[in-house]
């Protein structure tokens, strides 16, 4: 049919768009993971000043729309500094900072969900704080965090579509460009939506499997 013909005709561009979407998602999530871990750990620190730093970061991320963050980073900061900015780089920075804020909250929640006795038991054996956190608290926290982490991955993947407004030719922007040529809005958006849908379904299937694998040695014995 018409849609099939369209898919065949625009396949290379659609795949290129999807490829960029996936690449931006992966790179952003890796950077966001680092940010989330660092700020998540800061937010459970004993020191008030460190907690305050994490709080300000998370509040800024949560208190402003992603689109405004993208405009600020792509247009605002380069304008102030008088530099040229690259849409993909700006996009990655935006998504990293944004997802990093949410991940920090997930990390904080995960750590706080582990009973205080775990840290006390580890410290009472003479383990330093960092070692106790790394070997005792975080491995347990990551299990409780997993559903929220996967959810954030999916959100970030979908958020990449907002980067179309700063000219990143990811999947959504590719769709817009194709429609600008052929005016077949219904068909092209249907194709684009389906492509997102398939990728996200694959992701959630994988994540379900990971979640199941992560319950403590229950299958043993």
């Amino acid at each position: 049919m018409n849609i099939l013909a369209l898919i065949v005709q625009y396949w290379p561009r659609l795949i290129a768009g999807l490829g960029l979407t996936v690449q931006i998602t992966i790179i952003s999530l890796i950077l966001a993971g680092i940010l989330g871990m660092v700020f998540g750990l800061l937010s459970v620190s004993k020191r008030k000043s460190l907690r305050a730093i994490a709080l300000v970061y998370v509040d800024i991320v949560r208190g402003t729309p992603l689109l405004v963050q993208a405009f600020f980073i792509y247009f605002g900061i380069p304008a102030a500094l008088g530099i040229q900015s690259d849409p993909v780089v700006s996009g990655v920075i935006t998504l990293s900072l944004n997802a990093g804020g949410y991940l920090a909250e997930i990390v904080r929640g995960g750590i706080e969900s582990i009973s205080r006795g775990q840290m006390e038991a580890a410290r009472s054996l003479g383990l330093p704080y960092g070692m106790a956190m790394r070997s005792v608290i975080l491995p347990q926290a990551i299990r409780t965090m997993t559903p929220a982490l996967i959810n954030q991955c999916i959100i970030t993947l979908k958020d990449t579509s907002l980067l179309s407004v700063i000219g990143v030719t990811e999947l959504t922007q590719t769709g817009r460009l194709i429609i600008a040529n052929n005016y077949q809005s219904f068909e092209v958006w249907a194709i684009v939506a389906m492509m997102y849908f398939i990728i996200i379904m694959i992701l959630s299937k994988i994540s379900k499997r990971i979640e199941r694998k992560m319950s403590y040695g229950k299958s043993k014995n």
Partner: protein
């Protein structure tokens, strides 16, 4: 010479003064039982001894090291102070063997092989050798607490602190844990035990300490505290629990 020396210890949480002026000396191989009502400060006292709570003022010496001014050394000091918690606090993501051998290996005090060998020996001592490779959630409360005792012993501590070790247990499991502790006492471990088990205190303690409202109200050998208490508050407390 005192193993644990506590002088003028005070501890407040905000405006609430929980420990008002505690002075206590525990000798090597001595078994001390601390009794008192809930909220009397007895658990707080125990937690101050390994700096899980920071003392507000006063000093706590363990083996000549002042815990309250440990600064960077607290991790080193804590290695010599074993602690057993009311809620066991075993690490759920580690097997029983790993729970016991983990800290000595992580702190590079032992190789993995040495630590596991010690762990197995300790498991034999608490009669749980066959549970080495299971996860804590597969154990009963009493078994978990015995593993927790083995885990603390794996650090080869000079003093063992017990914070109501049988309070979270079903009645039928209290005995197995107390028996391990009795054996430990017999083997000469210096022990400070916060407990509601008056029978245990009477039988095992060298000295019983009654704490009320942040003070040590009365102390002495169990025969005296239980047989002939002098302070009216001790008498009232014992009347309630015995």
């Amino acid at each position: 010479m005192g193993k644990v020396k506590i002088k003028n210890l005070k501890k407040s949480f905000g405006d609430l003064e929980v420990l008002k002026d505690i002075n206590l000396e525990v000798k090597e191989r001595e078994v001390i039982c601390i009794i008192g009502a809930s909220g009397s400060g007895k658990s707080t006292l125990l937690r101050c001894i390994n700096a899980l709570e920071d003392a507000s003022s006063g000093t706590i010496e363990v083996d000549g090291n002042d815990i309250t001014r440990a600064d960077g050394n607290i991790n080193k000091y804590r290695q010599d102070i074993g602690m057993v918690f009311q809620q066991f606090n075993l690490f759920p993501h580690m097997t029983v063997l790993k729970n016991i051998s983990f800290a000595p290996v992580a702190l590079k005090l032992k190789t993995k092989e040495e630590a596991e060998e010690t762990a197995l020996k300790l498991l034999r001592r608490v009669d749980l050798e066959e549970k080495a490779n299971v996860y804590p959630e597969q154990l009963s409360g009493g078994q978990q607490q015995r593993v927790a005792i083995a885990r603390a012993l794996a650090m080869n501590p000079d003093v063992m602190l017990f914070d109501e070790p049988t309070s979270a247990l079903d009645p039928e499991m209290v005995g197995e844990v107390l028996n391990v502790m009795k054996q430990l006492a017999k083997d000469g471990m210096t022990m400070i035990v916060v407990t509601h088990e008056m029978g245990f205190a009477r039988e095992v303690a060298d000295r019983v300490i009654f704490i009320d409202e942040g003070f040590i109200v009365e102390e002495g050998p169990p025969s005296e505290i239980f047989g002939n208490p002098k302070n009216q508050r001790t008498i009232n407390f014992l009347n309630k629990v015995l």
